[in-house]
Symmetry: C2
Subunit: 203 residues, 2 copies
DNA sequence: TAAAATTTTTAACATTTGTTAAAATTATTC
DNA sequence: GAATAATTTTAACAAATGTTAAAAATTTTA
């Protein structure tokens, strides 16, 4: 859900969102609980093209994207399908891995130089058991991520690739130029050739 | 996820799952907390074709399906797309409505005579604030529903309509005959004509 | 049980989209 | 900045699926 109602600043041209704002994006949290979450977080400075999550590896931890851009995708032997692009303030998570401690479905790469905060799953789970505010915050996180995923599904089911491309252009005007067309095409659910036809404006 | 590891009985030919087992399907719960949840639940006996949830109405409550079969679908002016079929032990919820108290996306109808348990959202939310076990159970519910939705998305992205039809036949052998082909076709993401061709075995 | 209504299959055709491959453009590297 | 590599566009064709409409089959109703 991008940078909705966050208090953010610019550094050069880069949007940077604080970790506390990433947390509060899901649900109000009292300062004590924020502090507990911050204590199990680690700040990482990552280069463009860094790999955060691989589908064949267990990746239980959660990442919050403070700045930059990420791509989430599924992969099989013969195909790669982009599920989502995530902008600052968003969360990078392989839900299946996070919940079940087994390899999940998603791969997540960073498309730009980025700042991410990594939260240790084991310590987070133990906070869930002891701090009811954090337990409810974690519930909200799952609920809101569900709704976001549902909105993506709805959009894919009911909107044309052309309409969804226009949406993307509006949502990520500053990034879209630097994202490979193949990634965008698989996000839209069409071949790269079809996306080229869309861009060439053959209605 | 159907009737995985539940202790169920048959009544005539009907699978019936207890409310406590519906709860425990998500996460272990202690007897006290189960009791608290049961106290805010209401049992409903519903006829085939009953409407549980409408996308234009606020439907904050959650339903657990003890027996019968439900269909979840999205609808626009010109199209109706089936998202999921839910069998006993499953949960019927419009997540957006449940979380945001506004009309959600899904319509949910019962395709068979069914028994459902309705949980009052307001009372559930107040249990979330006072009972940390229930808060974590609610978190698990959202997380696992997310994963189920993700699996459906994966299946739709990577499997052919033919493969998915075979999966359906395997998962709901006893129901599939009574479900309209139009519903199944829209679940598979193809036209009804194409589904007829699949059934006629034109490979 | 016959008639009506609903659902499913089949047919014919048009359209869209994918595939492969080559040309054009843009970006990267030395 | 020239040469190389990577990416994007265009073209030509084939194949799959949607659309419309009618026929067949099944279910419901009177």
């Amino acid at each position: 859900m991008g940078w909705g109602n966050f208090t953010f600043r610019k550094m050069g041209e880069k949007v940077v969102i604080s970790l506390a704002d990433c947390f509060q994006g899901y649900h109000f949290l009292n300062p004590t609980s924020i502090d507990r979450l911050e204590q199990i977080s680690e700040k990482l400075i990552c280069k463009r093209n860094s790999v955060l999550i691989r589908q064949d590896k267990i990746q239980k931890d959660i990442y919050f994207l403070a700045s930059g851009l990420a791509r989430v995708y599924y992969e099989t032997a013969d195909r790669q399908i982009t599920l989502d692009f995530v902008s600052p303030g968003g969360t990078l998570i392989s839900m299946n891995s996070y919940v079940h401690d087994t390899p999940g479905y998603e791969n997540i790469d960073l498309l730009e130089d980025s700042i991410v905060y990594k939260i240790d799953q084991k310590q987070l789970f133990s906070l869930y058991e002891s701090d009811i505010a954090i337990a409810n915050w974690g519930r909200k996180m799952a609920e809101l991520e569900f709704i976001k995923a549902e909105q993506r599904t709805m959009s894919k089911l009911f909107n044309t690739a052309q309409e969804r491309y226009a949406e993307l252009l509006e949502k990520y005007p500053q990034y879209i130029q630097r994202i490979k067309l193949g990634y965008i095409a698989s996000y839209l659910g069409v071949s790269q050739v079809t996306l080229s036809r869309i861009r060439a404006n053959i209605p």
